[in-house]
Structure formats: structure tokens, C-alpha cells
């Protein structure tokens, strides 16, 4: 692995029967880089993320990832029979469990829920616990699989801010899978489009977020939407006029 890259994927191919999901795909993610992967549903986004997580086999091609990586899934996937702090400290060495869990829960603003049972949490709180669980082991690669998809619009805005802040602090490389173009533009340094099992196009967005009225932001957004097959400019205009970044395709 080159020291500069957290992730190096080359020639990755994955097929389910005759359906090719990933077709000789190449991808690199630099250390501390935040990459968002967008694409239509069923387009192989989640398959790629799962492969990087080590949850899917690498039949063809090569994948280099750091040993320390964690995933935030679409659902919180908390163990309902373990208290919140025990969920966060899952798999940590016994001696550091309590302290590290408390620290991580403080970061996501849930320190006072440490003793709670997961079933008493709201959807947004549960997903914040999942985020704390992922970050507590200081991963070099953080994999986010549509983690905000099931949350309401307002909670999602809070989560975006939280994720940005946590990325600033911990600096892991991040791969965020989403079908929400606005989410991708808001969070990522680079947005890549997965189409027909390959990386179709990528857009550097690091500077764009600073000013939404920057015409390049709207260009990037329109470009991404058109790549995903949304050409209706009306949709684009209303969202921008509202100044909201919460709608999905």
C-alpha cells in the first residue's frame, strides 16, 4: 500500500450470475479523504462498500484497505440486549471499554444515554450510537452505507453537521454511499458516480460547499443529477431556491 492512499482498488470485478455488478473497477481514496459514491439503486454501490469492508469476496482484481476499518450500516444494527455504552465498546479490549465508550458517546452528544437500552432511542439517536461505535476504534477507513437514508429531513441535517465535525477531528478516509446528490455534495471532498459497474465520472467538490451560490456548485449538482438520469430542471430549481439540501432523487 502506498502511504498516501488509504484504499487502492484495481480491476475489481463482481458478478451475481450473469449480472455484472462491478466491472473491472479502479478506485483510490487518499488518507483522510472524504469520498461520496453515488449511483442508481442496484448499481453496485453497496457491493463495492461491502467488499471494502471485507464482507464480500474479491474474486477478480485486487483490493488494498487498512486493517482498521469500520462500517455504519443503513440500519443502526445495535444489539438491543446491551446497553448503549456496551454497544459502543463492542470488541474493544476490556480495560479501555468504559472510558472510550463514554468519550465517543460524548462526541455524538449522547453521553447521558450511556446506560439506556437501544430500543428506547429514536432513529437518529440510534444512528449516532452506531457512528460512535464506528469511530471509537479510530478507524483509518470509515465506510458509511446510506447511513442517513432512513432518517427524517431535519435529523439528517444534524447528522451531516455531526459527520463533518467528526471527520475534521478524526481524519479517517471515508467512503459514503448515498443516492442523495445533495448529501454527497455537502459532505464529500470528491463525488464519484458509479454506473454500469464502473466509475463513470468524478467531481472534486472540496471548495464548492463554501458557497452554495457559486455557479460551479449548481453546475456540479446538475451534472450529477443528469448522470443519474434526472434531467428535469424544475426539480433542480426548486431545491436550490429553498436553499435546502435534503431532497433525494
Amino acid at each position: 500500500m502506498t502511504p498516501m492512499n488509504a484504499v487502492t482498488v484495481s480491476g475489481l470485478r463482481r458478478a451475481f450470475g450473469s449480472h455484472v455488478v462491478l466491472d473491472r473497477l479502479d478506485l483510490t481514496i487518499a488518507d483522510s479523504e472524504f469520498v461520496a459514491l453515488v449511483g442508481r439503486s442496484g448499481g453496485g454501490k453497496t457491493t463495492l462498500l461491502r467488499t471494502l469492508a471485507g464482507l464480500g469476496p474479491v474474486a477478480e482484481g485486487s483490493v488494498e484497505v487498512p486493517a482498521l476499518r469500520s462500517v455504519v450500516f443503513q440500519e443502526p444494527r445495535l444489539l438491543p440486549w446491551r446497553r448503549v455504552w456496551q454497544n459502543v465498546s463492542l470488541g474493544l479490549p476490556r480495560s479501555r471499554r468504559r472510558d472510550e465508550a463514554t468519550r465517543a458517546l460524548t462526541e455524538v452528544g449522547l453521553a447521558d444515554h450511556a446506560q439506556a437500552w437501544p430500543l428506547t432511542l429514536s432513529g437518529g439517536e440510534a444512528q449516532r450510537v452506531a457512528l460512535a461505535r464506528a469511530l471509537v476504534r479510530e478507524p483509518e477507513l470509515l465506510l458509511l452505507d446510506e447511513p442517513f437514508g432512513a432518517l427524517d429531513a431535519l435529523t439528517r441535517i444534524h447528522m451531516h453537521a455531526l459527520v463533518r465535525q467528526l471527520h475534521e477531528r478524526h481524519r479517517p478516509a471515508v467512503l459514503l454511499v448515498t443516492h442523495d446528490v445533495d448529501e454527497a455534495l455537502e459532505l464529500a471532498d470528491r463525488v464519484i458516480v458509479l454506473r454500469d459497474g464502473r466509475l463513470d465520472e468524478q467531481i472534486e467538490t472540496r471548495e464548492l460547499f463554501e458557497d452554495r451560490r457559486d455557479p460551479r456548485f449548481e453546475q456540479a449538482r446538475a451534472r450529477l443529477l443528469s448522470l443519474l438520469g434526472v434531467t428535469d430542471t424544475h426539480v433542480t430549481d426548486t431545491s436550490v431556491a429553498d436553499g435546502q439540501a435534503v431532497g433525494g432523487p
Binding site: 446491551r82 463492542l90 437500552w117 430500543l119 476504534r137
Partner: protein, 261 residues
């Protein structure tokens, strides 16, 4: 607007503890039994009065027969049940988690399950003699099978996404079983424990028909002519069943407390 009906019910619940509410019907039945006996609604040859049964209880306690034999039987039942529950649990987890184990064992175990285990008793006497071994074994088999069935179906219902999460966060196989599989299957496992312990008393009665030189079975055998002793034994078995059920309920309350909040 007020909802007075609901609050009235809550007040009744607060004032009268759950234990008392549960005891009302059994106490009424015993009272009816005593009244019927006293009023000679039936002959004491048919059903002795609770008072006589209680008297027999005191006699058997005082001469030491009941405590010593009860202890022998309880130890027998619990030894058999402990082995049976452990074996059933291990088999249930292995079969529930591993396809090859399921293919190897499930058909055989399901077949065994359909045999009423009590009919194996004569064979056991033939094979293992008339000592403790066949008695313990019949209880073990009787308890292992319901434990196996319930554990296996519980393990099958564990959310595969939680298993995947556990593996992703670096839990090895044993820790995965301890932190994800067993707690996830716990409601079914406890149902299995409840069935198994219930069956262990049933199996005990049958097992103690073999050459019982000690135990509740001996008391029943000796009491052929003493009717109140037999009734007393029925009451003792009922009490044993009730006590084990209460213990499992308490365990459930503790182990599944995460569900009710």
C-alpha cells in the same frame, strides 16, 4: 376529559400485589375442597380433605421421610435436567448456526423427538440396570429434546445483520455466540428451559417407578393404601412444578429486561 376506568384498574393493581392476585383462584379452590369434604359432598375414600393431607404432610416431615426423599428426587430431576439442558443447548446452537451440522443431525433428532421418551424406559432398564443411571438418563433425554428444538429455532431467528455487524467489529466465533447468538435466541431458549424443567418432573415420576429405594416414587409406592399420602404427593409435584416455573419467570424478567423498556 378523564379516563377513570383505566386509573381505577391501576389503583387496584397498585394496592394488591401481583402475587396475591395470582394466589386468589388456587386459594378459593382449596377452600372449596375443604368445604366440600367437611360437608361430606363426597366420601373421604374418594378424596381426603385438605386438612388430612396437611396433617399427613406434617407427619411425613416430622418423621423425616418427606424431606430426605424429596431431596433425593429433586437432585435426580435437576441432575438429569442440567445435563439435558446443556446437551440440548449445545446441539441447538450447533445445528442452528452450521448447515453441515444440521444436515448431519437434525433428521435423527427430529425422529427421536417423535418417540414418546417414556416408552424407552423398559429398554433402559435392560441396558443400564435399575440403579441411578437409567433414571437420570430418561430425564436427560426428556429434557434435551425440547431444549434442542427451542434453541435451534431461536438461533435461526437471530438477525443475520447483527451477526454480520459482530463479525465486522472483530468478534471471534465464541464471542459472537456469547454476545449475539445466545442473547438473540434467549426468548426461545427460556421457553425451552421452561418446557424442559416441566418435563423433568414428569420424567422423574416415570423414572422412579424403576426400583425406587429412595425418592418421592418410593413414598407413593409405600402409600398404596394410604390415600392422603398419594394426594399429598400430587400436591408436592404441583408445588415443584410451580416453583420451577417461578424461577424461570424470574430469570426471564432479568434476562429479557431490555425488551420491556
Amino acid at each position: 376529559m378523564t379516563f377513570s376506568a383505566g386509573s381505577a384498574e391501576r389503583r387496584w393493581r397498585l394496592r394488591v400485589p401481583s402475587l396475591v392476585r395470582r394466589a386468589i383462584v388456587p386459594i378459593l379452590l382449596i377452600a372449596l375442597w375443604q368445604v366440600g369434604s367437611s360437608a361430606s359432598w363426597w366420601s373421604t375414600e374418594v378424596l381426603p380433605a385438605p386438612w388430612d393431607v396437611a396433617h399427613e404432610f406434617v407427619t411425613l416431615c416430622n418423621n423425616g421421610q418427606l424431606p430426605s426423599n424429596l431431596w433425593v428426587s429433586v437432585r435426580r430431576a435437576l441432575t438429569g435436567a442440567a445435563i439435558g439442558i446443556a446437551v440440548g443447548l449445545a446441539l441447538g446452537v450447533a445445528v442452528g448456526l452450521r448447515r453441515p451440522v444440521e444436515e448431519a443431525l437434525d433428521a435423527t433428532l427430529q425422529m427421536l423427538r417423535t418417540i414418546p421418551f417414556l416408552v424407552i424406559l423398559p429398554l433402559f432398564i435392560l441396558w443400564f440396570g435399575v440403579d441411578e443411571t437409567p433414571k437420570i438418563l430418561i430425564i436427560t433425554i426428556g429434557t434435551a429434546l425440547p431444549m434442542y428444538i427451542n434453541t435451534m429455532s431461536g438461533v435461526r431467528t437471530v438477525d443475520p445483520r447483527l451477526l454480520e455487524m459482530g463479525r465486522q467489529f472483530g468478534l471471534n466465533r465464541l464471542r459472537l455466540i456469547a454476545t449475539v447468538v445466545l442473547p438473540g435466541a434467549m426468548p426461545s431458549i427460556l421457553t425451552g428451559v421452561r418446557y424442559s424443567l416441566g418435563l423433568s418432573w414428569l420424567a422423574l415420576v416415570v423414572a422412579e417407578q424403576i426400583n425406587a429405594q429412595k425418592g418421592l416414587g418410593l413414598l407413593i409406592y409405600n402409600a398404596q393404601s394410604l390415600f392422603q399420602t398419594k394426594i399429598l404427593m400430587v400436591v408436592v409435584y404441583a408445588a415443584l412444578g410451580l416453583i420451577t416455573d417461578i424461577i424461570v419467570r424470574l430469570a426471564e424478567h432479568r434476562l429479557l429486561s431490555w425488551r420491556s423498556r
